[in-house]
Symmetry: C2
Subunit: 340 residues, 2 copies
Amino acid sequence: MKPNLKVSLVRFAAFALGFVVTGVRAQDPLPSWNDGGAKQSIVDFVKATTETDGAKFVAPEERIATFDQDGTLWVEHPMYTQVVYCLERVPALVKTRPEIKNKEPFKTVLSGNREAMAKLSQDDLMKILAATLSGMSVDDFNAEAKKWIAEAKDPRWKRPYTELTYQPMQEVLQYLRDNGYKTYIVTGGGQDFVRVYAEQTYGIPPEQVVGTAGGTKYGYDKNGKPFLTKEPKLLLNDNNAGKPEGIHMMIGRRPSAAFGNSTGDKQMLEYTKAGDGARLAMIVLHDDAAREYAYGPAQGLPDTKVGTFTQALYDEAKKNGWTVISMKNDWKVIFPFESK
Amino acid sequence: MKPNLKVSLVRFAAFALGFVVTGVRAQDPLPSWNDGGAKQSIVDFVKATTETDGAKFVAPEERIATFDQDGTLWVEHPMYTQVVYCLERVPALVKTRPEIKNKEPFKTVLSGNREAMAKLSQDDLMKILAATLSGMSVDDFNAEAKKWIAEAKDPRWKRPYTELTYQPMQEVLQYLRDNGYKTYIVTGGGQDFVRVYAEQTYGIPPEQVVGTAGGTKYGYDKNGKPFLTKEPKLLLNDNNAGKPEGIHMMIGRRPSAAFGNSTGDKQMLEYTKAGDGARLAMIVLHDDAAREYAYGPAQGLPDTKVGTFTQALYDEAKKNGWTVISMKNDWKVIFPFESK
């Protein structure tokens, strides 16, 4: 091809694509959001950080947005999905390790007595998590978790957990990506567990999932083939201060935008907001018992141990310019299946 | 815009761009490589994994390639660049911590006696690394390291270390990226240190640098502004078995291609090669004393403690279908500045 023709074609192609992209952008990128301050703060942030000649322009390679998962991107009540997974793995675990059958807390889980299970202590839960999330190869764990997530259903909606994502947040993920942002999950949940379904569920690849992570151990099988075994050794507790620490470890840049819903996200939101230039910090308030759940205890909502959102956190949000998202008032629909 | 016009424009734009891209691809993507087995193995791998209808096609989102840094992407002899940095930081460190002035190993470093410094034990070096790479905020460390890397020069070539990258490997990085691969550095060096210059030097962003990593601690300054402090706590020793373990932690996928040069890369190459489908494992042999350095002790080359390449590793490479790159025979030029 003649160089001039090549240049002309590139220019025309760029023009044509630009034209189309502009056409798409003119549509509302956040159709499931009611008009109001929350929606506006997202649109304003994207505009400010992507306008090439703007004072708050962020270079494309520096566009990082981080999202908590449980309670921010999908349902976390009445129990974190991963905890359900671990409890349901106990019978299979006992088959390979019969010696724990009559030991607590496994005995209680095997009894099926939901009242007794609800009373398990944090320590008991940690024992169950450690036992069901380590000791196997990475490949075996991935296969087990993938199978479970494809089959398990939430008891209230009778749908796979992966369908209980929030449609308005799916739109934010897409809108940010369309504007050059890399979207990350930064979750207190297990990194390996969330990586199993994040790509299919949110379009977020494994390398963009930061979560609580245990170590692995490299070794060889009897044929000399190398594999990794999941170890019961905590490398990163990706909650509270662990979130900015994990972001530094895994991403190495301060996010421009962060989204959370509970006290476990406080430090990530502070860290994001403390950077220079335009910063977006948003926090979801679960105030919609009819369509989803209502819990706080901020704003007089019922108290909870799962995804606690205290009044102190609410006050910090208001004081520091974070945007509180009211599920009840800001979201037209909650789940993707409502729109279909 | 009418939908049909939009579709036509997108199709034409895609066609035009595809045409241009094909034109570019027809040029030799690896001009600094001599024709031969090493160059051919790279071209064959890329072709096999990107041909849509091929049996070994790898989906674009799964295209991961990992590169050791020291000795694979740039010069590591006679001393790792980061070790030079740490030794040169000692005088500044003593100003803030005068109590270590007369303590070993700092006393020896301050003496400037190169013979005595060369005899420092591994333990002594670890003490120097810990003292110069932790205790400060992440922002302060980044600023210091950035300043040093911009000013420091290699004593043999009298050029910044960032100019001592291998031109043939820069071409491999670009060639893989042009074909949809995400390129990662997986280094035994400090993750934070390498992240300071990797984007500018190799086009590899911080989030794609996996390295030996210490913990950080979240806290607040006197104005209540949050910041992270680098702690002397090892989270990931990204050498040997730590390389596949670090790849799992930070990327969560097995690479399709991996590049190394020493025993510290053995497990990463094994792990990469053990996956299904087309896999590329390459290892650089420093056999060019005239243009760079010669060390092994594989193939009768001089022994070394920096970037050791044993005969056992050479034999494993040959046995397992890894490609050994001979700097002397496979590379037309070593450094980018030679081509200018």
